[in-house]
Symmetry: C2
Subunit: 349 residues, 2 copies
């Protein structure tokens, strides 16, 4: 029986914490596990399955004997150390955006394009959180009716920006409730840690996630565009996105409009999604049943509801898609990729 040695890079962050939760309940036969971080965090302890582990300093040699390395410590760390892990025989599942669009790096949502895993050269990229849940919801519809076009507006939670961003939102919110004037609300992280200006998110909506790039679109918006085409292996799909941060701690919501190739009725789409892997249909307006960010927290599923025909376009459909951005959007999809690879005999010897 194959058993695998696992290394987790970046175990103390918002995603890392959930990575440990997902590894606690994984079907992967873990032999050894180690937790790696920068010198700053090395020496701290971390609990896993009731045992205490000391975080080791991340160096190239850390990956000797490692079969699976899960990276979630920023693009710079992945850029430097993922190749070192691969050189030493590990499979890397990288949660940063660094390798996503590189040729030879599969970008995988297990429910959508597991076959791409076979083409890997050591590194597999985990897509962006907002892309993953959209892919889970749309792929079953694409399989049945084809997919020509996507227009998406997101309602994204702050946990995608890390623990410090979550703390900042809580502090800002309390300050507002305490009557602190708007100009004195602390804002040092959002909307994008690396950008010049910072704005309060509490009781606000910020139409900027990540920094601005070409054509007036943010990187987050470009991720949704480019990653969709790569995952669906269709450069012809029309995709445009507007990505917005709202005062939610965890759980991304998306208002998605699609145009299919063949027309589909609402009940046909509901039927397809009822039977789709990774999807939970929550769609009964008569009972006010629809997906909600708060309810998604802690679930691996992608929730879909508010499915309606466009009022004018025969092949147009609107829907509301929600998922826990730290789980299916990050930690769970990464661990699920590893499980899938194990199942496909691509991991562990």
């Amino acid at each position: 029986m194959r058993k695998i040695n696992v290394a987790v890079v970046g175990a103390t962050g918002a995603v890392g914490t959930q990575m440990i939760n997902m590894l606690t309940e994984t079907s992967l036969p873990i032999n050894q596990i180690k937790f790696l971080a920068s010198k700053r965090s090395a020496g701290k302890t971390i609990a896993f399955k009731g045992q205490e582990f000391t975080i080791e300093e991340l160096v190239p040699e850390s990956f000797e004997g490692v079969d699976l390395a899960l990276f979630s410590a920023g693009g710079g760390i992945s850029e430097k150390f993922a190749p070192e892990a691969v050189k030493r025989g590990a499979i890397v599942v990288d949660n940063t955006s660094h390798f996503r669009m590189q040729e030879g790096v599969p970008l995988v949502v297990p429910e959508v394009n597991p076959e791409a895993l076979k083409t890997h050269q050591g590194i597999i990229a985990n897509p962006n959180c907002s892309t993953i849940q959209m892919m889970v919801a749309l792929e079953p519809i694409r399989q049945a009716y084809g997919l020509k076009r996507i227009i998406v507006s997101t309602y994204q939670a702050v946990s995608g920006a890390g623990n410090l961003a979550m703390d900042e939102l809580k502090q800002q919110t309390q300050a507002f409730l305490d009557g602190v004037p708007k100009d004195e609300i602390p804002a040092n992280i959002l909307p994008a840690g690396g950008d010049k200006k910072h704005y309060p998110l509490a009781f606000n909506a910020l139409p900027q996630i990540d920094v601005f790039a070409e054509e007036g679109y943010t990187y987050e918006e470009w991720k949704m565009v480019n990653e969709t085409k790569k995952i669906m292996e269709d450069s012809q799909i029309k995709v445009s996105a507007t990505c917005v941060r709202i005062p939610v701690l965890t759980g991304h919501s998306e208002s998605i409009y699609i145009e299919t190739e063949k027309p589909a009725t609402v009940s046909e789409v509901q039927e397809i999604l009822t039977n789709a892997a990774g999807v939970t249909l929550e769609d009964d307006p008569s009972q006010q049943i629809y997906p909600q960010a708060l309810n998604s927290v802690g679930s691996k599923s992608t929730f879909v509801g508010r499915i309606r025909k466009d009022l004018d376009e025969e092949k147009g459909i609107h829907m509301w898609v929600v998922s826990d951005n730290l789980l299916k959007g990050a930690a769970w999809n990464s661990v699920q990729i590893a499980e899938k690879m194990f199942e496909m005999d691509l991991l562990g010897k």
Copy 2:
């Protein structure tokens, strides 16, 4: 010089309070003003321009000698008393949805269709808050390039649902910050006062505003569809909406996609909106300048930014539109209608 006698119906609500602010600074030559409410609120006092007024009980005779009656006390009150006011010679500007789609009732955004005021038969309807700001932003573009299609996803504040909804959001938010479990968070009003189930909005997004109606769309969504066609006097415009409540107190945001008849560049659209009545362009990604709900509070303007070409459709444009839903979305648009009517010699004799 004409002077007018004004009656305000529903002066104590979230919109009513702003109505008084708008009347304080109006250019209308007010002769007398009176404040009307149900028996329950009658007898309370209200301050206007440094003077104390006693709220009178609303009865049909209240409108004797009144030239302008501003209604914002719910559809039922408008249904019953607006005709009584008209019967006594008053012009009614009604902020509820009751008369909006009735023939013979102009539905007016002064920047868009002031000419419709000439056709009035006593009652003028103020459009829905989320519709108004969209009309202000899109009409100048429609004038220049034509408008074939609108797809809008909203990010709406709670103040549109009244003072009690604002209080509820604040209480829920404090409870969350204090660690109260999700199931014990008080929720008695949102998403729709008159509906069966209520959900917490704090740190959540609720894809339901008003109750559900035909085709799986909510009334709020239908309002945006039907009112747009009536205000723009074009039943051929394709409109679909997804209306979502988010944890913001005041300031509606909208992610709007349009298709024009003739292609327009981003700088052409920016140029047009720079010179458009009621619009403030806030659109400079290089400086992280874009409209924000928090910044819109207290302004009569509609803020537009994030203007981008669709990545695939030559005639497709995306934008982000924000306005104070209590001002341009309600109180200011109502008072502005009255000012416009006065200017057009339709009010006061």
